[in-house]
Amino acid sequence: MNIQFKKGVLELCVLSMLEREVCYGYELVNEISKSISISEGTIYPLLRRLKSEELVTTYLQESQEGPPRKYYKLTELGRKKEEELKKEWFTFVKNVNNFLKGSVKNE
């Protein structure tokens, strides 16, 4: 399996969620852990890496419920990366599905 893929799955989910909307950390963790089972704490190191790679930026914004929250926003570079990873992902899934269908026939 493509190594880029292994490391891309969670990254892809984070990027694609940020592509839809600007989020704060808790929101991201909460949404993603609904679909993928992960230790929630490990998303923060990933977010820090995405930030250092300049795929996302952060800013603080006041919330109605209390102190300001740290929001994550996709950069132009992040947008490109998201598109690229998504394309790769769909191709990959399609190929695997085709392969699996083929091997069922052969049995």
Partner: protein
């Protein structure tokens, strides 16, 4: 584990990274707890779903230390980065350490040899020029026509090798960092998906 215990343990585990970075990391988890509590979850429940502080600390430390090694070149930094990567369980220390020590040995030898060539060149040159003055102390078995160009040539060769060795060291340093970085990204995501 409640909020205080979780943050305390995490803070203890990442105490050796720069203060600024550490504060930043802890801020994220504090915020996570705060919002979780606002949403009506219990501290213990939030801590449990965040996972083991040890795993979080390892990831944060490794990428932070590596970043530092990339910024400031030093043997200490690269060693720390290697150990942090070993801590993540990516590769066996023995497997990496052997070649690493071998490589460092080669580089040291290269520097030593270049230095020796430079010194010997300078000595030949100096000896030839000073020969007539210290006729009793210095004996050069060549004519000055041979030994002066020889001295200059050796000195130049030695200096060039020192420069070469320096660039080679720099190249290997960059290579090691690239290698560690690649490993780190793979491991971070592997852990993330568990």
């Amino acid at each position: 584990m409640n909020k205080k215990e979780f943050l305390g343990r995490l803070s203890e585990l990442i105490k050796d990274i720069p203060e600024e970075e550490k504060k930043d990391i802890l801020f994220d988890y504090e915020e996570h707890f705060r919002i979780g509590l606002e949403k009506g979850r219990k501290e213990e429940e939030i801590a449990a779903s965040l996972g083991d502080p040890k795993v979080i600390a390892k990831q944060s430390r490794a990428s932070c230390i590596l970043k530092e090694a990339e910024k400031t070149t030093s043997v200490n930094n690269i060693m720390r980065a290697i150990f942090a990567a070993v801590g993540l369980g990516f590769f066996n220390l023995v497997i990496v350490l052997g070649p690493a020590i071998g490589l460092i040995g080669i580089l040291v030898a290269l520097f030593a040899a270049s230095f020796a060539i430079t010194v010997s060149g300078a000595a030949v040159l100096f000896g030839t020029l000073m020969g007539p003055v210290f006729a009793w102390e210095i004996y050069i078995p060549f004519a000055a026509v041979v030994s002066i160009p020889l001295g200059i040539g050796l000195t130049a060769l030695g200096l060039l090798s020192i420069i070469g060795a320096f660039y080679l060291t720099k190249f290997f340093y960059k290579l090691s960092i690239g290698y560690l970085k690649m490993n780190l990204q793979i491991i971070t995501n592997r852990r993330n998906r568990e």
